[in-house]
């Protein structure tokens, strides 16, 4: 608790500090004018402008004024409170003034950065300063509340990001819940064959970590599960997890596969595209995504299983399972957990190449995506690692196309970052496996990471032909006899300045990375933000890259933006460390913005009671009024807005403070 030297009953003696922020503000806003204007406002004792208010000398200046001029209210007109409210509150507190007697006016993000006309900017800055001055005059001495933090952490998503975060946290002794919506953890990395630039086998480096997750005493791994609901706040989240019915008892299944052999869907015709092999092979209704799936447990697809769909099947799987693990009566189960922090690691989805019809994906059999070719070259893939086309032939010429769906304002304007290297890897692997002549069509070659340029250099020296140009079209329209029966790639060789037609047997599209389809839904559920392109938004692009605007929720991996594996792992570690810093501290300070009821005004109508999402309001039957439980109130303001008698009030947002602020804006524009 902080001791307050000044008593709040004092007449307001306000100090105003107009920050230049170097030229960020001063180049647009006439700061001297705003300073002089502020000096004329009632209650203002000191008004200054300063180059960098947040600097040490800037803060010392404020503290000196507090002492010398006996200031009891401070207004700083500078940047967003997101950045420096904490700084200036501390400045006040260190000088013995309650930090809640401080008010910030944002004249940078809200004014100088977004206003063209200097005159208009200055007018708006004046209005915001006036509003802050009038509001701070009504400020009250409050104190931060301390709330204990739960030590458990939830990790959402079991790809390499989630796996790495979970292991880091678990190794630090924290209990971790890892929730993955697919039947196995592993994510996209499990589908890859080799990883650039060192070309180590993806499965070889991933599967040990998967089994670490499974066996870690501190990790509760829930696959085939989804987060249904999140409530609470930093340090104390309540999460409902839906454990989807697998129709296989996880504790009994050992993944022997007897049920799969027995399943009646024997004919390929009736089988369904295998998700793990990106549709290049078929699977039955009961399946395990891949041999090293974790958990090594089957799952029955309710949209394919005859028993589950039609209630009619010989149920050969049930008979085949010696351990009696098949259970058609399973239903979804909702589990509630309490956690202190959440790490989002929900990953990405590959761009759907069908959206660029010019490239013929889905129309021409021999146009593939990079992910499909990963499965083709993989020894445990549908062809046992041989690069053979859908017609069974081995390609003699192959074209790899970069930037599919990326750097394209018609689709995704951003660069997907990983596709250049993925394309180079494909060029190398396909050439190595088939000896084919490989053409690589790139727009700009982007290989800026450790060992990446060296890899490009290697692929160049292997004789892959690089053509700088974005492919306009893949067509089967032959213009010469040599082109008959081939796929022709139309491109401008921009370095030579001539249009070329390159006939190939196989086309590989280096598809970009996109936000998951349900990102918007996730954003609502977890109450976090998304950037314009749809990836989860970090709190600050440089200085808080794994935090979100919601305290206690952190970001790991490609759900925040395109990333390759080394970067994902680094970021997942960082997210784990941030989560750890929160739960290890044991408590959080939260704003004292709780609601309270003005006893005399309350008519006891009970309107507020059912509305409170946190059940923080009860009725004092004796006095026939509502009472807010301070410890449970999260300061959402629902009751304040709903109360018909105006009896519900909220700290830091009293009617009086808000009216003063509004009048401050209006009085001086």
């Amino acid at each position: 608790m902080i001791m307050h030297r000044k008593s709040p009953e004092d007449q307001p003696r306000i100090g105003v500090y107009v920050c230049h922020c170097g030229v960020n503000i001063a180049a647009k806003v006439d700061v001297e004018h705003v300073r002089d204007f502020a000096a004329s406002l009632p209650g203002v004792v000191v008004s200054r402008d300063y180059k960098f208010a947040c600097s040490d000398p800037g803060q010392e200046l404020i503290q000196k004024d507090i002492r010398e001029h006996d200031l009891n209210r401070i207004v700083v007109a500078s940047c967003s409170p997101q950045l420096h409210e904490r700084t200036f509150r501390r400045t006040c507190a260190d000088a013995g003034l309650s930090p809640f007697f401080f008010q910030m006016a944002n004249i940078r993000e809200h004014v100088s950065w977004v206003t063209v006309d200097p005159g208009a900017a200055t007018t708006k800055a004046r209005a915001l300063v006036a509003a802050a001055v009038r509001r701070v005059a009504r400020a009250e001495a409050l104190a931060l509340r301390q709330v204990p933090v739960r030590p458990e952490v939830l990790v959402v998503g079991g790809g390499i990001a989630g796996i790495h975060s979970a292991l880091t946290l678990a190794n630090a002794g924290k209990k971790v819940f890892l929730v993955e919506r697919e039947p196995t953890i592993g994510g996209h990395m499990a589908q890859l064959d080799k990883t650039f630039p060192t070309m180590d086998c993806s499965a070889c480096i991933l599967t040990p970590k998967m089994s670490d997750v499974k066996n870690h005493p501190n990790i509760t791994m829930w696959t085939y599960s989804e987060v249904d609901e999140v409530s609470g706040f930093t340090g104390n989240f309540k999460v409902k997890v839906r454990r989807k019915a697998r129709y296989i008892k996880e504790e009994l299944c050992v993944g022997c596969g007897d049920c799969v052999d027995a399943c009646v869907m024997k004919k390929e015709k009736v089988q369904v595209p295998d998700e793990f092999n990106v549709g290049l092979s078929k699977r039955k209704a009961v399946y395990m995504p891949f041999p090293q799936a974790t958990p090594a447990c089957m799952v029955i697809d309710p949209k394919q299983c005859l028993q589950l769909m039609k209630g009619k099947c010989a149920q050969t799987c049930v008979d085949a399972c010696e351990r009696a693990a098949v259970d058609f009566d399973q239903t979804d189960e909702i589990v509630e957990i309490d956690v202190g922090a959440i790490v989002m690691a929900t990953g990405f989805r590959p761009f759907d190449a069908k959206r660029i019809p010019e490239y013929g994906y889905g129309r021409f059999d021999h146009v593939y995506t990079t992910l499909e070719v990963e499965r083709l070259v993989n020894a445990s893939g549908p062809t046992g690692g041989e690069v053979v086309l859908r017609d069974g032939t081995v390609p003699k010429t192959v074209g790899v196309i970069h930037c599919v769906g990326s750097r394209d304002r018609r689709h995704n304007a951003y660069c997907s970052k990983v596709c250049c290297m993925a394309a180079l890897k494909m060029a190398h692997l396909v050439k190595e496996r088939t000896g084919a002549e490989v053409f690589d069509f790139y727009v700009d070659m982007r290989t800026p990471s450790k060992g990446y340029e060296e890899f490009y250099d290697q692929v160049l020296s292997e004789g892959v032909q690089f053509i700088r140009g974005r492919v306009a079209e893949v067509t089967d329209w032959a213009m010469t006899p040599e082109e008959e029966g081939k796929l022709v790639i139309r491109v401008e060789d921009t370095l030579i300045g001539v249009a070329r037609r390159v006939p190939v047997d196989m086309v590989i599209l280096a598809v970009g990375l996109e936000p998951q389809v349900d990102t918007a839904e996730m954003q609502r559920r977890f109450n976090i933000s998304c950037s314009q392109e749809g990836f989860f938004l970090e709190r600050h692009p440089k200085l808080a890259p794994v935090s979100t605007f919601t305290d206690g929720i952190f970001l790991a991996g490609a759900c925040q933006g395109p990333k390759d594996i080394p970067e994902v792992v680094a970021q997942a570690g960082a997210a784990a460390a941030e989560a750890l810093a929160l739960v290890d501290r044991g408590h959080v300070d939260i704003e004292p913005n709780t609601a309270w009821i003005e006893e005399e005004a309350c008519s006891g109508c009970k309107t507020c009671i059912p509305l409170c999402p946190f059940n923080a309001i009860t009725r004092d039957e004796e006095k026939a009024i509502a009472v807010v439980n301070d410890a449970m109130c999260k300061g959402c303001g629902t009751c304040v807005a709903a109360c018909p008698s105006g009896a519900a009030q909220q700290n830091m947002f009293t009617d009086e403070q808000i009216y003063e602020e509004i009048e401050g804006v209006l009085a001086y524009v």
Binding site: R407, D408, R409, R470, A472, D493
Partner: protein
Amino acid sequence: MAQRTPRMSNLHITRRIKYQNELDLGFGKVMTSIPGAEDLLRCIQCGTCSSTCPLSIYMDHTPRKIIAMTRAGFKDEVLSSATIWLCASCYSCTVDCPKKIKITDVMYALKRKAIEEKVWPRGLPIPVLAKEFFASVLRTGRANEGRTVAKVWLKTRPLKLLANMGLGLRLMARGRMSMKSERMTGSVDQLRKILDSVHNSDTGHSPG
């Protein structure tokens, strides 16, 4: 920009360099002020336009290069290039450009600039056709294909007119061409008034 040095048997050696003072550095910026050409500076030189363009194989500079040269201020080369006149306004480039640059509009704008500065390749009938077409519309409110084409040939390549006489006559015989002008039903005056009041187009003046 290319200077030919004396000829040595079959070896043509040229000295090629562009000095900064030969460029019109503001040219790209000027072009971006024209509706449709505003995104010109966003070009990433990917060449999609050139490879999708059905005419690029005939062009002296591919559409991509035209964009680069426009932006870099190679105004003379751009305006005197055959490229802009070979553009058939098929809009393939416009729909395929990943940066949503309306290249067809850029080509139109460059044609207009070239007409305005009178720097089109000699003997090229296209600018003449465009102007004749303009004149025909100004006179009657509608275009008369036969008359316009005949005039253009007469002005640019009289022999061509003779060569195509046959086609013209066959069209006339089938009622598909006439030297008599189609006219608007009302008075052309209203239309002229509208056209006259349009002044601030990018070329600044109307040709004629």
